[in-house]
Symmetry: C2
Subunit: 339 residues, 2 copies
Amino acid sequence: MFDINKRPEVIQLSHGGGGKEMNKLIKSLFFSAFNNPILNNDEDAARLHLNGDIAFTTDSFTVSPLFFAGGDIGKLAIAGTVNDLAMMGAKPEYLSCSFIIEEGFEVGKLKKVVDSMVNEMDKSGAKIVCGDTKVVPKGCADGLLINTSGIGRIQFDGVSVTNIKLGDVIIVSRDIGRHGAAILMERESLALETTLTSDCATLWPTVKHLIEAKLEIHAMRDATRGGVSAVLNEWAMGSNVGITVKESAIPVCDEVKGMCELYGFEPFDLANEGTFLIALPEDEAIKALDIMHEFGCEATAAIIGRVSEDRPGKVILKTPWGSRRYLDLPQGELLPRIC
Amino acid sequence: MFDINKRPEVIQLSHGGGGKEMNKLIKSLFFSAFNNPILNNDEDAARLHLNGDIAFTTDSFTVSPLFFAGGDIGKLAIAGTVNDLAMMGAKPEYLSCSFIIEEGFEVGKLKKVVDSMVNEMDKSGAKIVCGDTKVVPKGCADGLLINTSGIGRIQFDGVSVTNIKLGDVIIVSRDIGRHGAAILMERESLALETTLTSDCATLWPTVKHLIEAKLEIHAMRDATRGGVSAVLNEWAMGSNVGITVKESAIPVCDEVKGMCELYGFEPFDLANEGTFLIALPEDEAIKALDIMHEFGCEATAAIIGRVSEDRPGKVILKTPWGSRRYLDLPQGELLPRIC
């Protein structure tokens, strides 16, 4: 029978009060999903044993909408933090997770987000070992915000923004701009006949194989906010080298091209959430590409540029028409709440 | 000359875009204040070297108002996370810091918060080594939200919620309920003639001396959300013991008593942000109190209860009139956005 009085269960202020209701929510929803002995200890902090070089990172996620083609805030919150660790050559191990939930948020949606986090952690083996839950009154936060911080063990300690060498080539791991374009599509409720999805993904499985192959990787970074433009500019400045990229070599799918034309964006400036760049010597580029194609990367992974003495600190874009222009750090508003 | 067009500088969406404006904000405000070699590396994650047993914790701060008598969200964000580490017997070392800022937030206020964080970190020697900045459009978050996660080196590995023994006594480090009462006072704009301030403080200096004295501490926890009631109940349940507290022994200042009468709260349920409980054998209690009084605690630190076989899992309150009642886990809404 259809019961019109049956409303979905929602989060109430008491779920953040530090008392009975909060304990129940934490135990029944978070502990049971993230289940592991360190978390279940239920102390003020997780107790870990670590020896050696460690990477430590943090990210807050404010993406809107919470659910989008190719992912949701939960998948993003795991992939985003795990990827920051992977980009340091670190195996993601321990995560913290802090929820800020708006009063009235549906418990069913929260469960969906939590399931998505559990599913994404399987890709790297990382575990949530400590957490925090805050509930704020209606109007004080938009639905759900998540912070994840992460600890990883460094397996390969050569990568750095300052380590790029003359003669290096730049590889991108797949076609760019998908996350930004997918969020824009959802937000504008575009009824495009498209299969465009975000690239949101955990990069550790690919990075792990690149490390195991003992390639001489000089720099590695995922192209999130600010897109490929931001990474290339930070590299050029950080290592005081010139980077020249060939526009026609940069993979961009037709859907992203279309969205860029519609809204006047450049694909280089759009955010990605599962796409990374590496800089390494030219004679290792083919081996790197083979590994990327074999372990998790799309066929679109490609060499897009080269490092030279020309215009140190600058990124130069060679257009398909033979002209050259500076590719600058993005500027202005772009898309808020992309991640 | 008075310039009516001179408006305070505010945060704009472009400050969160991942491009030029964000880089400028991060370098000029955060890096210059939190200045240390690990943070200044400017990689995707901080690179640390750790050996041994580590505590790892996270907390998001949503306190409203952002500035209150005795502290602000910055002081709270440092003290709160550092205290979670200290309560594990860990020396606070490395912090992450993630800001979610609402478009239009005054840069001057953000600077005040950041200065407050720097000042509070001096109390424990902890350092912010990685961070994240998000800007959300007006209406999507209330002013400023901060997440801090922390890593500490465990110096004393005996404390646990499951470790409380029969015959232990319970000590509270100062008079209770100040943080909750101070926030309530600000929020209700009470023009009380009062000097009531939050207890917000870093507890590591006191805990350090307790550890160095080699006391046999069985449990230690700061009484934040849910107040003293929540800690005592978690201990009674976690160690399956009965805890009896004497109401007349629990220190409560007159201002907090007054606020409780006015609003119908119990001081045991009010949040604290620089007040902790310890459980240890009776014959070490005086020594512990002496150390607490000498190193940072108020004169109000006192023995408030005892652990016995009576009613395992329950907390019993002996009232000044000789009656006994259960002190339960707090329930219901209490005060949202207390921390």
